[in-house]
Every structure is written in structure tokens, then in C-alpha cells.
Symmetry: C2
Subunit: 463 residues, 2 copies
């Protein structure tokens, strides 16, 4: 790819400005209040794809938020890369912890990002990483170096389970036909050590409701005599882990893939400092399943975490009340071979079983997805690794991520092609947290690396 | 007391209108947003005391909300009754469960209140019950039948711990000198079976904060590898009760007064239907400390209840986050001999002890108060019982209440007189809950019974 460095240098400021404009739209898919903004973001993506030379761009309606589809087919005999990304973002709360407003992007320098990073919700997950692909295409079309066909599929429900995307993919196999699927929605080890995500965890996300008395009660007149839904909920949740932090749901581990000593030894080679990890989070000790390292706990092992809990009086001061209801949002991260629908059922059954008399329980499944593992000997992986090696000067390390992209397993099933997870974010980028950011270095490095993937993948495929 | 029935009959509508006007002011002491309304309520009480013939009425400033003091001294040789009540109310949430707005009082008929009940926050606790005393005084002054001296002390912080009242009482023993303290801030068994509360539970109210990582984390990237503050909080709270629902805080039961078989048998005589109790609350089973009946669990036994819990994402939809912090409001109801400050210390120490490495815990004591038990052979009790017997046709039953009026123990200590708890509310009046109400029958019956107490207490005291 000729002159890519100079092209990026000359257009750097505009690349950043365009991304900042995109980040200003609060496309929070979880909250209906932002519906207009989510739609507006889809339209903005459509225009950006047209601008960089896609021949055909359309906003495809679905039962939920639309999917932006774009393509540039230069020669049907050439391979086709399908780029997937999402234009929706996580909710921004707790707002008060943001040092600058989540939807007023600003560039700030940090220790890890001396060249500056863009601070905004969605900067890294996934608007920034998705937009790298748009700008990479711009470079290839502007300089007439696009070596193959390209398709874009950008959705607006990734943060809430990608239901409409499943609906869309199963109905459009032909339209989406491709030779490799390229996704930048994961991270890498560091700005000096790139890595490619070869595994993702599955997800089951549920909401539970515990109901006791038919109304809030005075804790003095009824305290001690009726089941307090909040106390009961804490007992029930606490019982979901045993003293070794194993999950106690019957059958939960039945299909969990146990890694061999060799595989675990391979994993352990990834550079990792427990001290830095603890220091970065400001914690005295890590905590998790007995018998596994921190890197194993958050990648090859399934987990159960409460993501939110609420009930009773949570305002200023004191209210001596026994609430009628208590609630929690609970997510389970799953590993390959655990079926998320089956796990959701096991959870529901178990949670209903452990409810004591005096309360009723309602378990509402939210969404989920399967885990995924990709082999490291396929053309896509080799091309990606070659691209990283060229732009970073060192080969990428294959890594299992603890995160979930529920749709990935479905892609392979429906579209019969391999998925390559070329992530350019860092764990410290605080995705899903206040002060999410994306390094300028990472953003531009992505734009520089992606065209090389196109080139190498095309060359290797033609062999 | 001559013509009291006809006086009430002739003024019934005005009595109700005046109370409704008082209930329209949202005097929520727990929430600073209502400061103006709390003050305005104090001023309204002041005017009402002046109107019914108090010679001296003043709004006494304190470090917190003011105390309305009023007196009518007719003869220093006659006994003096000190009436205590409060003009502040509990927060109204959850607002959405009110069938009519909490501060737009309406009269509705119910099964238990065929003559109608006033629905509004504070209707029973305590504006309605406090205002009975104002109207009772009106009757006695208007008909020149006031048999003794009377003092009023109406505070605005009962729902948040009465701190300023303690401050006021300890500084005004002389001003508040009295022969008996009369309080209507409790309930009775039913409209056909009056009861006098002879015991109150103490209270310790704390707020706990569990902090894990220094920021919210992505539950995929960190799930299973760090202590999740919400999961930890549920484990810690769950551990505060053992399998018999005994509280596990070391030393918690050390000073708990164990009642004799005889006393427990006496208590058991009070009419009670477990079926009706369960039906009223719409629960399949009661729940509580093994070895005690429902009436014992909520009166003579100490308890620990979570009044509120919150942490993480509680909005619409799903957010896969590990929150940095989780919170709970916890109250303990205490029985006589348990010192609330000591119990608060025991809780704090224990809660900090059980926190695992990886989180830090902050326990913030909110407020509290001692329990109280009154003998049933003192003049005040006998006079009250005689008054109930006259107006209800049956003698009152002495009862231990599960509720707390933290200030009562202090009254006895500082003012050296007995406290008589003449309550006219019912448990079903939903105090502290949505749709709080106070029966018209109960309101007027209180106005009818109180003057008789004045008469009998004066007669019995002069003997």
C-alpha cells in the first residue's frame, strides 16, 4: 500500500474531527429515550460510506434499529471482505464520574496515550474502531489501491443483544456472502504488543424480581415477621457462588471446555503484571474462582456477575421501610460449548427453586449469545498477523477475550466464513465505564493496518 | 366532659377540612428539597395552637428543623400534660403505587373504614394523630372544661432521628416540666378493641458502602477476576442472618431481655389471625426468627432489615458492567436493654471484619434510639385505660409495638415523667407506605377520648 503513512499524516486532523462529530450523537440503544439519536447515527454512517466510495449504501429496516449496509464490488472474481461494526453505545451513567461530558468529545493526553486520546462514550466501543474501517476504505479508493471487494454491515443493537442483526443475517446470506469477516470491537495487549482475539465468551443476561408483601411495609411494625425481599434477594444471589467462587447452578459447568496444561501454559506466556493490574484498579487483592489465574478467570472460565441491583428507599437520608419488591440484573459470561439459552434456562429454574416461601420470583431473560473460538491457521488470521507485524514491527499474540460479541458465532454458522477480530483498543480505554477513550495512536494505527490486511488477504487467497 | 359527642358532631366537617389542609404540605424531613414545606408546616401548627387557646406559642429554633412549643397554664397547682407529636412525614416514594397523589388528600371508604378514611402521606403518622390533640384542646377551651395545664411540643425531625429534639429537651427541662407525657404516634388493635402501647423497639439505622475497583468495569473483560462490589455486598448482607434467622453480629443479643413464659402467654392472648395477616399482605408464608411467633418477632425480638439497596446499572435494558460501588441502607430494631449506640458499633465492627480483600467498606451510622417499656400501674396508664374504656366500651389491652419512637426513652430520662402512648391508628393504615390513610372514625374517636384522659388524670393525680 503506497504512501499510506503520508496520506494519514495529511488527513489526520480531519479523521479525528469526523470521528468526534460521530461521537457527539448519544446513540444509546438500551434506553428508548435516545431512539432519535440512534437513528440519526445510522444515517450519519450511511453518508460516510457513500463519501468514501461505496457504490451501494442502504439503511436496511429491521424489527428493531436499522442496519447500515454498504458495498464496493470491483471484481466478482476477487475475494470479498465483510466489515462488521456497531454504531450504538452503552449508557453513559454514572454520568457524575465523567471528567468531561460523555457526548462532548475532547482530546486529552494520558500516560498510556502520550499522543492524546479522544474521551467520549463509544470512542473505542465501537464508533472509533468501526470508523477506522471507513477511513481505511477512503484511503484505498482515493489512491486506487482497493485490492478486493468490500461490504459493510454496521448495526445499532450490539449493546443490547443484536437481535435484529440475527434476524437480518439469517435473511440475507446471499447479500452478505463473503470470504472473511473483519471486526474491530476488541482490544490488544498494548501499543507495542499487538494481539488478535481468538476467543470470545458467550453471554446470558437476565433480570430478576423478588416480590414479598403486596405493599411496602413499616419496618418497625413488620420487621422480623415477614420475608424482606431485599434480604431474600441478597441471600439468593450470595448462594449462587460457593466458598471457592464456583457457580452453584446445577449443570452450569457440564459443557465447559477444560483447557489442557499445554494450552494454559501457552496462555500464561502473555505479558501480565498482577501488581500493575491491581494498581490500575486500585485494589488490594484480586478475587475469583479458586484454582485459576486472573487471565484464566476472565477468559476461559464462565462467570456470574450482578450488573445492577435495586430496591427499597435509595434517596437522601433514612426511610424505615420493607420494600415490596427487589430487583437485580445478572449476567453470566460463558465459554465455548456452553449454550446460552440452555444456561439461561438452568439459571431460571435454579433461581426459582431457591426462593423461600413468602416471596415469589420472576426471572426475565434479557438476551445472550454463544461463545466463539477461531483457529489461528486460517488465511484471515495469517493475513491479519502479517499486517500487524508490518505496522507494529512485531507479530500479534493470539488471545482469548473475556468479552462477548454474541453475533460472532452466528456469523460463522450463517455465513460460513471465518471471523477475524482485529482489535486496536486497550483494556485501559474504559469501555462501558465513565471516561471511555480511544488513543489517537490506536485510531491511526488501525487505519494504517487495515488496508494491509486487504492486500495480504487478497494475495494469500489467490495462491 | 359535657356535650363532647355533640361538639364533635357539629364540628366534624371542619375538623376534617383543617387536617386535610395540613396534609397538603409535603413536610418530608428526609429530603432537603422539601425544606420550605417543613418550615411552612411548623408555622401552620403554630397558628392552629394559637387558635385553640394556647396562651403562649413559639417556634423554637434548633440546629435542625424548629420545634413548635405551645402552652396553656390555668393553675400551677394543677397537673400538667405535655403533648408530643411530629409534623414531618416520611418520603412518599414509590409514588407510582399511590392510587391518589400523596399530598392531595382525599376521603375514601374502605372495608376497615366504612365511615371513610383520609388518604395522604402523614394522615396517620403523625399529622392526623397529632392534630387530634389540637382539636381536643379546642373542645376543652371552647367549653371551658380544661381540667389541667397543657403543653405542646411538636417536632419536625421524628422521621430522621429527632436529633434536634434531643438537643432541645436537654436544654429546656424547666420549660417542659410536666406530670405526664402524652403521645399519639402508635396504633391500636382494631376499632372495636383499643390497646395502649407499653413497649417500643429501639433503632439503629446505618448506611453501608462497598467499594471495589476504582471505576466501573466491563463485566466481560474483568468479570470473574475482580471482586464485584454488588456480589460482595449481597454475600455480606446474607451472612448477617444464620439459617434460623438469628442475627450473626457477635454480641448482638447480649443484653436482649428474654420474656418469661408467663409474659409470652399474656401477649399471646391478643386477638390475632395468621391467615388474615397473610391474606392482608398477600403472602404464602410468614418468615422470621425460629422459635418465636409472628407477634413476638415484630415486638419483643430485635431484627435487621435492609431498607434500601442500590448499585450498578438499574435503568432500562441491559448494561454489562461491574460497578465500582454498591450501597445499602440497613436498620436494626432493638429491644429494651440493647443500647443503640453500642449495637451500631457492633454492626460497624462486624461489617468491616467480614469484608473480603479486594473491597473496602464504609459504614455510616444514620441515627437511632433506645427501646422503651412502660409499667401499666402508673396514673397515666390507668387514666388512659379509663378513657378508652369509656369511649370504646371495653378496656384497652397493653401491647408491645415493633415500631420505634427514639425520643421516648430520652423523655423519661430528661423529664422524669412517664410516657403514655395513646395510639388511634391501625396497622392497616399503611404508614410509611403508599396510600397511607387515617380513619375518620379513629380521628374523631381520638378527639373524644383525649379530653377524658385529661379529666381522669387530673382526678387521679389529686387523690
Amino acid at each position: 500500500m503506497k504512501d499510506i503513512k503520508s496520506y494519514i499524516k495529511n488527513n489526520k486532523d480531519r479523521f479525528i474531527e469526523e470521528l468526534i462529530d460521530l461521537l457527539k450523537i448519544p446513540s444509546i440503544s438500551a434506553d428508548p429515550a435516545y431512539k432519535k439519536d440512534v437513528i440519526k447515527t445510522a444515517e450519519t454512517i450511511k453518508l460516510s460510506l457513500e463519501k468514501v466510495g461505496c457504490d451501494k449504501v442502504e439503511i436496511c429496516e429491521t424489527p428493531g434499529y436499522p442496519i447500515v449496509y454498504g458495498e464496493k464490488i470491483i471484481d466478482s472474481k476477487l475475494p470479498t471482505v465483510l466489515v462488521y461494526g456497531h454504531y450504538d453505545v452503552q449508557p453513559a451513567d454514572p454520568i457524575e464520574l465523567w471528567t468531561s461530558p460523555p457526548f462532548e468529545p475532547v482530546v486529552k493526553k494520558t500516560e498510556i496515550h502520550p499522543e492524546g486520546a479522544i474521551f467520549a462514550r463509544g470512542a473505542c466501543d465501537d464508533k472509533g474502531q468501526m470508523y477506522m474501517h471507513v477511513k481505511a476504505l477512503e484511503y484505498m479508493t482515493e489512491t486506487n489501491q482497493l485490492p478486493c471487494n468490500v461490504k459493510f454491515m454496521i448495526e445499532g443493537e450490539e449493546e443490547v443483544g443484536s437481535e435484529s442483526l440475527s434476524w437480518f443475517v439469517t435473511r440475507n446470506q446471499e447479500k452478505l456472502a463473503n470470504d472473511v469477516i473483519l471486526i474491530s470491537d476488541t482490544g490488544m495487549i498494548s501499543n507495542t504488543q499487538p494481539s488478535i482475539t481468538t476467543g470470545l465468551r458467550g453471554l446470558s443476561y437476565v433480570e430478576v424480581e423478588v416480590t414479598g408483601p403486596n405493599r411496602d411495609l413499616h419496618s418497625g411494625l413488620y420487621g422480623g415477621a415477614v420475608a424482606n425481599p431485599i434480604n431474600i434477594l441478597t441471600k439468593m444471589i450470595a448462594s449462587l457462588h460457593d466458598e471457592n467462587n464456583h457457580i452453584t447452578i446445577p449443570g452450569f459447568y457440564d459443557n465447559v471446555e477444560e483447557l489442557s496444561k499445554v494450552e494454559r501454559a501457552e496462555m500464561a506466556k502473555a505479558p501480565f503484571s498482577l501488581d500493575n493490574y491491581k494498581k490500575a484498579l486500585d485494589i488490594e487483592a484480586v478475587y475469583g474462582e479458586v484454582g485459576y489465574t486472573t487471565n484464566e478467570r476472565n477468559s476461559i472460565r464462565p462467570t456470574l456477575d450482578v450488573n445492577g441491583i435495586w430496591g427499597g428507599y435509595t434517596g437522601e437520608g433514612a426511610k424505615t421501610v420493607i420494600a415490596s419488591k427487589a430487583f437485580a440484573k445478572i449476567s453470566m459470561r460463558l465459554v465455548p460449548n456452553q449454550d446460552w439459552k440452555e444456561i439461561t434456562e438452568l439459571f431460571k429454574k435454579h433461581f426459582e427453586t431457591i426462593a423461600p416461601k413468602g416471596v415469589t420470583v420472576n426471572v426475565k431473560p434479557h438476551h445472550g449469545g454463544q461463545g466463539y473460538v477461531t483457529p489461528i491457521d486460517n488465511t484471515g488470521y495469517l493475513a491479519a498477523n502479517k499486517a500487524y507485524t508490518k505496522t507494529f514491527g512485531v507479530p500479534a499474540i493470539p488471545q482469548r477475550s473475556g468479552g462477548s460479541i454474541p453475533i460472532v458465532a452466528l456469523f460463522e454458522k450463517e455465513l460460513k466464513s471465518k471471523i477475524i477480530l482485529m482489535g486496536f483498543g486497550l483494556n485501559s480505554d474504559a469501555i462501558h465505564s465513565p471516561n471511555e477513550h480511544f488513543g489517537i495512536f490506536n485510531y491511526l494505527k488501525g487505519i494504517e493496518t487495515i488496508p494491509l490486511f486487504y492486500q495480504y488477504f487478497t494475495e494469500m487467497s489467490s495462491k
